[in-house]
Each structure stands twice: as C-alpha cells, then as structure tokens.
C-alpha cells in the first residue's frame, strides 16, 4: 500500500508540475500572450472590449502568483476556459467531441496491434532463426523505423488517391447526419479503415519486437529448461512457462501505448484529415488557440499519468514477487 501511495503522490506532483509548465509557457514567450492571441484574430480592439474579452476567456489580472492559483483551482474544477477558434464553445466540449473519434480509432488499433504483435513475437522467438522469425523481425524493424508521416502518406497515396478504394478524409460522409443507422455506421467504418490500417502498421512492429526479445531472454531461464526436462510439450512450455512471463513487461508497454493514445495518432489524423484530438491540437496550434492547446496538453498528461498508475497496480497484482509491496 505504501508503494502505491508513494506512486500516487509522485503522479500528483508530476501533474501539478505539468500544469505549471502549461501555465508559464505562453507567459514566457515574448510579448503579451493575450495581445498576440487577439491581434492574430484580425481586428484592432478598443481596450475596454479587450478587457472584457480577457475576462470571458478566464484571464485574471493581478500578480502572477494569484493568476497561477486561479489557474490551478480552475483546472481541478474541470474548467479549461473557452476556445478562441470555436468561440464561444468551452474547451471541454471541443475536446470532448474529438475524444470520441480518437478513442475509437486508436483504441481499436491498439488492441489489434497488441494482440497480433504479441502473438507474432511469441512465435518468432519460439522458432528463432527460422524463415518466419526472419520475416517477422525484419518486417517489425522496418515498420517501427519508418516515420508515421511516411506510412500515412504512402497509404493515403496508394489506396486513397491512386486506387481510390477508400476515402482520404473525414470520419464519415459529411452529407450524412450522425445517427445510429446502418448507413452512418457503415460510412464511419469505411472512412476509418485507412487510418486504422496505418496505425496498426505503425504499432504492431513495436509490440512484436518487445515480445520477441522478452521471450528470448526468458527462454534461457532455468525454469523453462526445467519445463522441457520434465518432458512437457513444446506448446505447453511456450505458452505457460515462457509467454506468460514475457507478457509482464509487455503489459507496461501496452499501458504506455494506451496513455499515448490521445497524442499518438496526431500525424495520421492530420494526413487523413480525421477529426480526432490530434487534429484538433494541430488546428489549435495553427490558429494559436492557446486555451485548447493548454487543455489538450493537460488531458494528455493526465491520461499518461493514469496509465502509469495502472501499470504500477498491475505489476503488484501480476508479479507475485511484488505482493509484499501492497
């Protein structure tokens, strides 16, 4: 318990630190952030309306420490201010809409890649040196070393533009109204297919390599040799002696992958013009929409921290050697 409490304390501290960076970043940049923010919107504003606008956006006057405390208080009450680009929509609702698309897209892609990648890794390690292992290893190395930008662009070029099999933008046909109808759901799946394939291509290799290397390290362990010496079948030793233990470190990379879901698909979403969180962050950066950028960073940090905490808990639960720590 003490272990988990200590971790929880650390994550809370990390969150406050991230919020602090978030608060000071725009203020450290040259010039008055508020001025820059509104001057980029175009028109020259009279001071009094600028003042009232500042208030609407939640900018507080007063000494820096007071602004900082107000900011922290508003974060913990879930108030992230209002978007500039989509004024007067609050940041939380802008992000909330995008969140659904990203979680759907990245969530499914992560689950598929984790399952397929781990399986390939186990088999490749077990048949080390075979043609299968060579294909999986080289394929995985290749897939992980090609930047996501490149994979996305090539997929969109080949299947979206040249062959024209799949649409190259939007999450669904824009002419359709969102509804729980067969037509709309079908359109969502059709539009989501290419980004999904791209993400799976980017993610699977990493899981396969991790799993393969874990397995190979474990295959040298005494208890695996012991299992074989007992005359257990290959499959039994592979699954219940080696793979089961090799999965432990992979769980942590899965959790980290889940933690980065919200930011991990940014490039793919931009290339496929998919209305997820990554694309929203990108648009916000182009439009200098500071409240959305800050809100986005906070949400990403929070998910990452929660994912890390889940790793800690799962380690304690999965690894009997750590039981004492509870």
């Amino acid at each position: 318990m003490a272990f988990l409490l200590r971790r929880l304390g650390f994550y809370l501290a990390a969150f406050v630190a991230a919020a602090t960076v978030n608060f000071f970043l725009p203020r450290l940049m040259p010039g008055d952030p508020v001025q820059i923010m509104f001057s980029s919107a175009g028109a020259e504003l009279p001071p009094e309306s600028l003042q009232s606008l500042k208030l609407t956006f939640g900018f507080v006057d007063g000494p820096l420490w007071q602004q900082y405390l107000t900011y922290l208080a508003s974060i913990f009450t879930g108030d992230l201010g209002r978007s500039i680009k989509y004024f007067p929509a609050p940041v939380t609702s802008v992000l909330g809409q995008a969140l659904v698309w990203t979680v759907g897209l990245m969530g499914i892609a992560t689950i598929i890649s984790f399952t397929v990648g781990s399986l390939l890794g186990v088999l490749a390690a077990w048949r080390r040196g075979s043609a299968f292992d060579v294909i999986v290893s080289v394929g995985a190395i290749f897939a992980t070393s090609v930047p996501a930008v490149v994979t996305s662009l090539i997929v969109v070029f080949v299947f979206g533009f040249t062959l024209g099999w799949f649409p190259s933008g939007y999450a669904a046909d824009p002419r359709l109204d969102p509804a729980f109808s067969l037509q709309y759901v079908g359109s969502v799946l059709y539009h989501g297919f290419l980004p999904m394939v791209t993400l799976c291509a980017v993610l699977t290799g990493g899981f396969a390599v991790t799993m393969r290397n874990n397995m190979i390290n474990l295959l040298g362990e005494d208890y695996v040799v012991m299992g074989r010496a007992k005359g257990l079948s290959d499959h039994y030793v592979m699954i219940w002696y080696a793979a089961r233990n090799a999965l432990l470190p992979t769980v942590s990379s899965l959790a980290i992958a889940i933690g980065t879901i919200l930011g991990g698909s940014l490039v793919t979403e931009v290339v496929f013009n998919y209305p997820g969180l990554g694309n929203i962050l990108y648009q916000a950066i182009l439009a200098r929409d500071y409240p959305v950028i800050q809100g986005q960073l906070l949400i990403m940090t929070a998910t990452m921290l929660i994912a890390n905490f889940i790793v800690d808990v799962s380690y304690v639960l999965l690894d009997p050697r750590l039981k004492g720590a509870l």
Binding site: S145, V146, G220
Partner: protein
Amino acid sequence: MRVLFDGLLRNRKALIGAIILAFVLLAAITAPLLTQYDPSARVGRPHQPPSLDHLMGTTRIGQDVFARLLYGARTSLAVGFGAGLLITAVGTALGIIAGYRGGKTDEVISFLTNMVLVVPNLPLLLVLAAFIGQASPLVIALILGLTSWAWGARVTRAETLSLKQKDFVKAAEMIGEPQWRIMAFEVFPNLISIVGINFIGSVIFAIITEATLEFLGLGDPRAVSWGTMLYNAQKASALSVGAWWEILIPCFALALLGLGMSLLNFAIDEVANPRLRTGNWRNRWVFLVRSGEGRL
C-alpha cells in the same frame, strides 16, 4: 569494446545498416558534385515529372527535387546526429551521476527523470515549436536535445547501480581514485553498448521528429530538409494533382535512413545481449543448456 566492434563486423544487420548510412552520408557530402542545381532556386517549370534534366522531377515552384533531396540529407543527418549527441550526453551523464552518487543527488535526478518521462513528448515539442515559431533546424535540434534525455538517463542509472557493486569499482574506490575518475574511466566504458543503443535510438528519434515537426508546418519553410519537402508538397496538394515524385521521394529517403539506423541499433542490441542473436536450432539447445551455468 573490442568485442563489440568484432561482433558488429560479423553481424549482417549491422553491415546492411552501415552501408545504408554510408550511402546517405556520401550523398549528403558530395551533393554539389552530383547535381548542378541550387536546391532553393527556381530552375525549371513547375511540377515536371522525372526526366534527364530533372532526375526526380520538380516541385510546385520549379525547384529540382533531386537537389533538394541531396542537400536535405545534410540537414536531416546534422539535426539527427547533433540532437542525438546532445540527448545521449545529457542522459548518460545524469544517469551515471545519479546511479553512482546515490543519496540526495539520485533522488533529485530520478524525480526529474521520471517527471520528464511521464509528460507526453510529441505534443510538448509541438507546443514548444509553435510558441517559438518557424523553428530552424538548429533550434529543433536543441529543443529535441533538451527534452528527450529522460529514457537514456533512466536506463543508464539502472546499469550503473549494478556496475557499482562490481569488484573492479570497489577496488578503484579502495585505491582512492576520485569519484569523477571512477565514473568516467571505470563505469562509463562498461556502459558503452547502452550508450551506443541510446545514441542511435536518439538519432532515429531526432530525424523522425524533425521531419514530423516540419511536415506539420512548425519549422522554417525556407530551410532545405526532408521535412520541409514533405510540408511544401502537402501544401501544393502534390498527391491530388498527381505529382507523386514530390511527396514519395522524401518519404522513401526518410524510410531508408530510418531502416538503416534501426538495423544498426538492433545489431548493437544483439551483440551486447547475445541471447537475442539468431541461431539455428542446435545452437539454441546448446545455449539453453549452457545458460544455466552463468548469467550474462
């Protein structure tokens, strides 16, 4: 160290990786000999397909794609190796100091490292680059170097902790060697494979991230690099007007360099950790039996 290099020479992955890297390096160095065009100048009509005049076609504004590719390789390699060096130096130094000194120093550095590790990196980089505005390749390299050292520091610290218990370190302490000397000449040389993996991994990361940031339009659009090639091609809707050469050529260049560097990385990993090396069926058995005797 000797063993490491001997092993690398015999490793096929390392060989292919090194050949790819050498090829890109050579192309970057000899760029002025290979093309007569200035990479930034308008030297032809817009969007010409590949021909003898323009080996890889021209861009929307009539720049020679082949010249941009060659000169862009210089930027990618410089940013990659520069940032990689910075990331590795900071990470290794902090890791060794934290691991060897222990106590309060370790607590502070570890806290800092863990903090940096849990904050998502790419969005933070995006925001930093956006706030700085039109970041030049040098600025991108500096941002990358100063924000991405945490993984290396954590791994190095863990290794240092186990090295610290070894007899030769204890012996050096008995003789009364100063701490900095132990860290630099006893601990560091034994971390060389980790430093190598960290360095090459960081170079890959820096090359990819620089290209990504520039593709997203956060870099300086006038710089000649593979990322800005992609950005300009995307802005000129090269894909939808059928100018595939403008976008696919930098794509393949990035993929090739990434592959070469990854092969090198995997090779070092295999040589440093022989269990990962591919062997035939018999070797595996010999290995399984022998591994009972002594852990690597």
